[in-house]
Symmetry: C2
């Protein structure tokens, strides 16, 4: 059952990308927030996605966080991704979820240059995940939603569990939030060992 190929691929190296808090929007909500078109600031590694020129302020019952980047293109759902430390500032308790799994997630208010919108079932903490396309997944003998272990060997070493996310446009990289990155002193571009 555990052949040579599988054994060889029990460990692999992947690159870290640290995700700051950000927002995905439906076009209709974007238009309530801004009087300008969604415009690209820079492309992201995930194929077709981009950081836009537009930012919002997040507002919760306890506090606000300004300058939160809108990610393009528009999506079929509104989704605000924050870290635990962000959630504490805002005074909310978002569940840890995969992208798009928004049922009974948190309510949050967005303030744009034109207007303000309160979104229900819209705010999550993103599950740690490792993006890849089907070819890479096959090469690594992994499938969508497999759990892997990200190993960190430094002065604040340890291991983080993360989920495999297979998609057509999946660029091979590990997505961690700022809290994860700071706890383990990692930054975008760092290479780490991943165990199946």
């Amino acid at each position: 059952m555990f052949g040579r190929k599988e054994k060889e691929q029990e460990k692999f190296i992947a690159t870290v990308a640290v995700s700051n808090r950000h927002v995905h929007l439906k076009e209709e909500v974007f238009k309530q927030l801004f009087d300008e078109p969604l415009s690209m600031k820079r492309p992201l590694n995930q194929v077709g996605e981009f950081a836009s020129m537009q930012t919002v302020t997040l507002k919760g019952p306890k506090g606000e966080i300004p300058n939160v980047r809108v990610i393009g293109p528009f999506r079929k759902y509104n989704q605000v991704e924050v870290s635990r430390s962000d959630a504490i500032i805002l005074g909310i308790d978002p569940p840890v979820r995969q992208s798009g799994d928004l049922e009974e997630s948190e309510t949050i208010t967005l303030i744009g240059s034109k207007g303000e919108v309160t979104l229900e079932n819209a705010c999550i903490q993103a599950e740690r995940h490792i993006h890849m396309n089907a070819r890479k997944a096959s090469e690594l003998n992994l499938k969508h939603e497999d759990l892997v272990k990200i190993k960190v060997e430094n002065d604040k070493g340890g291991m983080m569990e993360a989920f495999v996310k297979v998609s057509d446009n999946g660029y091979f990289e590990i997505h961690l939030d700022k809290d994860d990155a700071n706890a383990f002193m990692l930054k975008t571009g760092d290479e780490v060992e991943v165990e199946r």
Copy 2:
């Protein structure tokens, strides 16, 4: 070699205490910062230590952090303990160290109600550690500076390496910083499994 006793103690449960940024001071430096006596706000679990009524602002080349608690009693060295996210705000790069190991650590400025002091070799990120006294260490078959693994089983699960810190006044608890706590969604009082 691995008898019954050792096997039984390969895992144990310990309680988490989350340490926010804080400052230990020599009496002479405290007197440069404050025109009032060091006074107790509340005792800490570590026997003899207390959170004082006095707070300072930390100042680095890039930013400031206000309301940072002075911990009593006075020590024989000045030591400022910050997290990685604090270090990024301040614009400094403190090494990860045990308490008291300050050689070639960071420079930082403290602002009190009376005055301002810049301290060289004074700022570190605290190593993750688990406090205990000699009796507890013996019971768990651990010794000072042993490396243990703190296991977290939740939606952001994983493992953090931590060092055993044996001292006379050691109250049995795990000290993590805010970044660690937020990355793993832990709070003071949470119980976790520790592996030798």
